[in-house]
Amino acid sequence: MGLRLLATAGVISCWTLAAQTPAASDSPFAGSNGCRPCHPAQALQFFRNPHFKTTVANGATRENMGCEACHGAGKKHIAAAGGRVTIPNAFSLMQPNQVLDACLRCHSKDVNRANIRRSSHTQANVVCTSCHSIHQPGSARNLLAAKQADVCYGCHSDVRAQFSQPFKHRVNEGFMTCSDCHNPHGVNSGVSKTGHRPRMVETGLQNEQPCMKCHTDKRGPFLFEHAAVRVDGCESCHSPHGSTNARLLKRPVVFTVCLECHNGSGSFGRQADGIPTQSASHNMADPRYRNCTTCHVRVHGSNADRRFLR
């Protein structure tokens, strides 16, 4: 009820303001104060919004200040006493590429958005306002519409299922976020991997997979590298989101993870003559030998042994 009264009062104020607007001014901009009477909810909370700083920036021109920086010049809208079609940039009516253009007018200067035009999200028409809510954000810091994981799960339901498994990275618990590993604004093409996939994965310190941002002991460099890790990355053996298997492995037991590659076939491997099989002393009929990492403890790389024994 209170809101209705406020809005009604606002519309009346708009009319009054429109009537008071000096006709002599040629500028199509009305200033943010012109928006305040009809949009009190947005105006009252706008000082919390990161975009509020545009209203107090020294030397900012009117097209870069406050409401009109995003929504465009508002004098016609005020003169018409409202209506979405009179707003130059009414985001709910805009096409995805128009939304992108409007936001990138200011936000293109950040290099982590340099690939946004060619990102998978943009190709799927997932643009800024698909995830960010400027006036009703779920987080004050980056204006996401909700908690980051919930925003991402909204489309990536399979990823939500992966994070519901017993072994997982702690995203649901709040220790990590999707953007620790992914850049939703697009990334450069792959580094040591040849393929196009997985997409939107950010790189770490040495342009390796983002896993090394946290798992610093696995980064190396080592005297003896496990080449698969360096060439095609951690998901050669691990499922990074979640798994029913311990240590996020792709298989329930370790020896099949190892043997599926170490089968001596073809021209695979760093020596291009097949990845070596284990020696004849490894009797796989004996369960003792099925725990490969009991002896080969340094499978991510070793400084002491080329077979990763220590």
Binding site: N97, Q165, F175, C295
Partner: protein, 655 residues
């Protein structure tokens, strides 16, 4: 207004898989004015409890919430109302789980418009993992990892800004390792590790904008130390009690210290509204120096007394250089064309001197050397066309050529003039997709990727692969429904062995808001994976080449949640999450003879219902109660099964 904001906050929150902290906050979302500032805050303090029946170690590995008093959550916001605060215009603090939760988090931001912005992110994780399937549980870890990131930006809104940053990542705690001594056919022993690792990173950089050209440069230094030491001071017979191999004393120190200085530079030039050039260059120069000093004493498998001292010194080096150049052309508002060329080069090289003195031989000394070089050049061309508002198409072509050179030696002298083995891998992939919006609430997306890799690096890598994605969603204010399908097929074959992988996921989620104070969410996902891979291994000294590794996972995941607000005073939530891997449907454990004939499956179920009540006692005080149950069950064994009741009682207060 306040009621509206509360309802919005309630409705936006989706099903929450962890029961605490309570999403509802105390106090007015509009805050209170204090001088030129507006302040909002809410602090939730409470007691967590748990009761575990079954394998506590596995519970701690999966969940790990314990008993005790916690600052479950807290927010503080101080904002200047006119944007002209004297020292600061905004201060934001968020905390979660402080006290003794296994997952603790704190973020802090303080900024003065146009002058500075400082961000801090601090996180702590108590990691506990007995991991029974790995080395029989002897690779146990109970470590604490703490990470902190500090970033200070000066003149954040100007065309010339400066950045300073510092990050720290520490890991410490006890662990168990395993190894073999004195004989390659001897016994395996577990030994203790006192893990002490830390990484420090310092960053210095700046951004400059001149006209339509933006330049960003960062110089950084990463310093890493691993001072983990290992020991075992008691006589035990090892895992195999039938032989006479023993280890009575082990002492090992292997300090590893290193530095990775790096440069990063970005150049973004918006030459016109239609044409943009983006360039990125990075170079890092990683190095790790190591010493490995070990003394071991015991008996070999024949019972003879043995002692061995090993000393190894050396260094690993890895310079990495990358470059990307992207051209983007937007001729009109319907077409976007982009092309990116990428270059990546990694050289990994290291050398070490190994010496060993033992009572079984006169002593061994030799040098080790390795080189692994990866150079990858890729080019991706992409285009997107939106001829009408309701429909658009996109496509891309990706080509990559990777050269791998490798040389690995153990010799009595560092080999000189050896020629590394070289291979070239080429990948070609094409993507085509379409997006449709026939009516405003309905969005449909389809994309297909077909890739061919002429020489994958390993047998389970992508070779001939196809990936399909389809997604449809219907979103309105009160009702949303989305469904998605993904399929990934890969066939990697050589003359003798074949690896094939088929993965499919299908899911549907829905949300319904019948009234402003009620929200219902539900979803179901099916994740299927089956892989078939050729194997070669020895069994009783016979080479077996006829078996396959066949892995099947059929995972069903269900979630549902209902949240409601009663008389603007009571917030209720009830939810349910269940994950079940049905394997291939069998009801008994697979026969392991012959070794890999039977499909590998790992059927489990993992369910977690939860309920929460949050009661507004006063405008600035809430009382909260929650319960969450975890039930983990493996179908073929029960050693790791557990059932756990967890919950909390808390108050949220705003001053």
């Amino acid at each position: 207004m306040r009621a509206l904001l509360i309802v919005l906050a309630t409705v936006v929150a989706h099903a929450q898989p962890v029961v605490a902290p309570t999403p509802q906050t105390a106090g007015s979302p509009r805050g209170d004015n204090a001088g030129p500032y507006n302040i909002t805050n809410s602090w939730e303090v409470g007691y967590r409890f748990r009761d575990v029946d079954g394998n506590t170690g596995k519970y701690r590995s999966d969940v790990n919430f314990g008993n005790g008093v916690r600052l479950l959550g807290g927010t503080l916001g101080v904002t200047s109302r006119d944007g002209k605060g004297k020292w600061l215009d905004e201060l934001l603090l968020d905390v979660r789980g402080l006290g003794n939760d296994p997952y603790q988090f704190s973020s802090f931001r303080v900024q003065k418009n146009a002058l500075y912005r400082y961000d801090l992110l601090w996180r702590s994780n108590e990691y506990f993992n007995p991991a029974l399937p790995i080395a029989g549980g002897d690779h146990f870890l109970s470590t604490n990892r703490q990470m902190q990131d500090h970033d200070l930006t000066l003149l954040p809104q100007s065309k010339l800004k400066f950045r300073v940053g510092y990050s720290r990542n520490t890991q410490g705690g006890p662990g168990l390792w395993t190894g073999q001594w004195f004989d390659g056919r001897g016994d395996e022993y577990s030994y203790f590790a006192n893990i002490r690792r830390n990484q420090d990173e310092y960053r210095l950089g700046g951004d400059l904008q001149i006209g339509r050209v933006k330049l960003s440069i960062t110089r950084g230094w990463e310093l890493f130390k691993d001072d983990t030491n290992f020991n075992r001071d008691m006589l035990t017979p090892g895992a195999n009690t039938t032989d006479r191999n023993t280890l009575s004393l082990l002492r090992r120190d292997e300090p590893l210290h290193g530095k990775t200085p790096y440069w990063r530079a970005h150049l973004l030039a918006e030459l016109s509204k239609q044409f943009t050039i983006h360039g990125r260059f990075t170079h890092s120069d990683g190095r790790r120096d190591f010493i490995y000093d070990e003394f071991a004493r015991g008996t070999d498998r024949l019972g003879a007394g043995r002692n061995r001292q090993t000393l190894l010194t050396g260094a690993g080096r890895r310079p990495v250089t990358t470059g990307h150049a992207t051209l983007t052309w937007i001729p009109n508002n319907k077409v976007t064309v982009a092309n990116q060329t990428g270059f990546h080069q990694t050289r990994m090289e290291g050398d070490g001197k190994y010496s060993e003195i033992n009572n079984g031989s006169a002593g061994i000394a030799f040098a080790q050397f390795q080189f692994l070089g990866i150079r990858n050049i890729s080019n991706t061309s992409e285009a997107s066309w939106q001829p009408v508002k309701q429909a658009g198409v996109f496509g891309s072509y990706h080509y990559a050529e990777r050269r791998i050179r490798s040389n690995e030696q153990e010799d009595f002298e560092i080999p000189r003039g050896t020629v590394p083995i070289e291979q070239i891998n080429r990948n070609k992939a094409g993507i085509f997709g379409a997006r449709l919006t026939p009516v405003a609430p309905l969005r449909i997306l389809f994309s297909a990727e077909v890739g061919r890799n002429d020489r994958p690096f390993y047998p389970t890598g992508d070779k001939n692969y196809e990936a399909y994605t389809a997604r449809a969603s219907w979103r309105q204010k009160k009702f949303d429904l989305s469904t998605d399908f993904k399929s990934f097929n890969n066939a990697n074959s050589t003359s003798l062995y074949v690896h094939s992988s088929t993965g499919r996921t299908w899911g549907a989620t829905t949300g319904f808001t019948p009234r402003a104070n009620v929200r219902i969410d539900a979803g179901y996902n099916y994740l299927h994976l089956d892989t078939l891979t050729g194997l070669a291994y020895f069994a009783d000294f016979e080479l077996v080449e006829s078996n396959r590794s066949y892995y099947v996972s059929n995972l069903h995941a269900l979630h549902a949640g209902v949240q409601a607000q009663v008389r603007k005073k009571v917030d209720l939530y009830a939810g349910f999450v269940r994950t079940q891997d049905r394997g291939d449907g069998r009801s008994a454990a697979p026969d392991m003879q012959p070794l890999f004939t039977a499909a590998q499956v790992f059927p489990i179920s993992y369910a977690s219902p939860l309920a929460r009540v949050s009661l507004q006692v006063r405008a600035n005080l809430r009382a909260n109660f929650g319960w969450q149950y975890y039930d983990y069950a493996e179908k073929f064994a029960s050693a790791q099964n557990y059932a756990a009741h967890t919950g909390y009682v808390s108050v949220s207060y705003s001053f």
